[in-house]
Amino acid sequence: MSTINALYHIMKADFLERVRRYSFIITIAIICYIAYKYIPSKEHGYITLSLSGYRGIYNSAWIGASFSLVTTMALTLAGFYIIKNSIERDEKTKVGQIIASTQIKNSTYIFGKFLSNLLVMSFMVLIIIVLAIIMQLVRAEDTAINLHQLVAPFLFSTMPVIIMISAVAIFFETVPFLRKGFGNVVFFICWMTVITLVTISVFSKDVDNTNPQIKNEVLGISPIIVDMVETAQVQCDDYRGGFQLGYRQVTNLQTFVWNPSNLYTKKLIFKRMIWAFPTVLLILLTTLFFNRFDYSTKKILKGQIKFKTKNKNQEYESKSLYSNETILLTPINSYSNSFIINFIRIVKGEFKLLVKGLPKLWYLVFLSLIVAQFTTPINTVREYVLPLAFIWPIILWSKIGVNEKYYQTHQLIFSCLGSNTLQPIASWMAGVLFTFLAGSGAAIRFIAGGLWIELGIFIIAVLFITSMAFALGVMSTSRKLFQVVYMLIWYIGPLNKAYIFDYIGVNDESVLNGQYLYYLIAAILLLLIGLVIRRWQVVHN
């Protein structure tokens, strides 16, 4: 009984602490906005779930399934980053120290945190279900609400994945090397891989998406896709296959009625339930990794000798007294005369803050990528090496604009003379210099080859990345927002060559369309937004 009581209170306290934050309210507001835009009327001229220009009429089945599909895709990614701070919060607020000194078992604590994650995610799913009902009534193509058809896709497709993500988030928070920025990147790569594998698996024998197969895939989206495609093939004469999730303009929208009678069979539901087993295993594994807020044990896995001598968290023994000698302090009668020299000194300090503290392997890869920019053919540099060089330092960029709040030095810095503009500009400038360094090989090659447009795009990319890191860092006072947003843009743009998001100029189409000019404007705007917010923070801290 006491275990259940403890579980209940861990879950409750964690849940309330999260949902009472402004950031959660903002998240819900964003979800509401996206939900509204996701179900456009016929007059809007675009669709978001398309079967080659066809869509189902907005009945409960279609609305429920289409919302479920996008919820599954979005919450597995964004949801992970939203909930991955449960144990971190206990550590930061020092509540973890109190918890660690109680009788609570590691397994109870971890399971309580998992339940809290699940509750937060379920709460968001519940809001989306309510929004789905509202949108069905607002668009009014079919106003009969069939709760079973509307809720079933959430229950059997979305929820099993949500349960799993709730456990994965706790796992990432517990395993030492996955706890921070590196873990965020690793999860994004895992997410991309899973999405790719599920897509390949569902459409394996079919490059044109005409004949998808139901598979026991983790996302549980194949039954919906298969039934929609099959129904369209029966009802729509000129439908030749195709299934697209995402914004798409249409001039001649056609609809059909999708009203599946038995989408989720008992067998299918059983298969979905099987995914609970890896979740349970993951929670058990997490319990083994959980160090009960004792970070002195961090290096034990690497060897006892190293731990004794080089433990990062070990405190030095210190002399306890102030100096016994009489120290005469040099009086300061004047301040720095040269604005530029002083600015350079702050930039130097910011640069050190940016680059210090990562493992040697990280610097090795960083240098290898610069060397590769000199040694590989220029087209390879543009298409592959530069995009890699512009994702590798993501953890460093995410420090820009965040350090003061992250390390709680803001009170020291905000009371200084240069805190209003000089220090934030210096922080941005250090980021620009570092980003130049990351792509310095490519820049030199562009200059040497007289590729002035490529060089211009490169410079804009440098400014854009740094400004975005600065603005999102200052705005959110967290490293996570930049990491997630930047990874998404990088994935869609430079990696998948979608020209709208191609800020590096990988795609010739983006260069021809002058896409880089938009990124130059974005860079300037983001820098200004960051500076204005920082100024506000200094004044209204």
Partner: protein, 294 residues
Amino acid sequence: MELIVDNATKIYKGQVKALDDFSLKIDRGVLGLLGPNGAGKSTLMRMISTITKPSSGSILLDNKDVVKHPNEIRKIIGYLPQNFGVYPNLNVVEFLEYLAAIKGINGKIANKRINELLELVNLSDYRKRPLRGYSGGMKQRVGIAQALLNDPKLLIVDEPTVGLDPEERIRFRNLISELSGDRIIILSTHIVSDIEASATDIAIIKKGRLILNKSPEKLLNEVKDKVWEGIVSSDMLSELRLKHLISSTVQSSVGVKIRIISATKPDFNASPVTPYLEDAYLYVISEKKVGTIV
């Protein structure tokens, strides 16, 4: 130099009033800011340090409004907040160099002063070690060093002795005494002994309001002939607590040695004794003047 806090009020989110129509004139010397936890001491210091703005009222430095012109005070201030962090991957020299640059101190003078300050706070031997390995007390010493970096004319230290061991506390108090002179030093604490030796003036704050602002001598006069000591049995203690303001109790083989603050002689065998600043503070801060358990 003169610092005036003029009718300052600070209301936080949720209508929590941290400072309520607070006025105080501060001249050269060490001002000891005393008050219980949550009295508004840190809010006042944060406002003077330009970290936060008053909801109403003004703060004037030599008749210049620092709320409108924060750089006027930032040029001359050294601030040690109650809670602050450091950059774990920098060493103490790099950290102080960085802050010196933000404070606008000339590079060469800053380097010289950093070396001297590291000697002063006895961190020279750890100058190349990353700050992540520093203990709480060492970090506090880094905080003290950064507050003194720019040779501040106005030094604000909020609970400076937290995390310091007893010897370090004594050294810190001496340091504050040595630093006073033609500076203004505002030292906030709820530990009376921290300011006993150095304060030239004492301001007592309670529930966001200024209760009293006097020299230590005048504050002690408040309890002149009002402090009594005697030995009582353990049984009598509870009864006396209801009647009198008790400053301290010490168990001994013959009973409990009790120190009472009372305008009249208590009804047990008590003798008048010389009052301490702590007695005076308790007397001023106590609402009922009786029943306080120390």
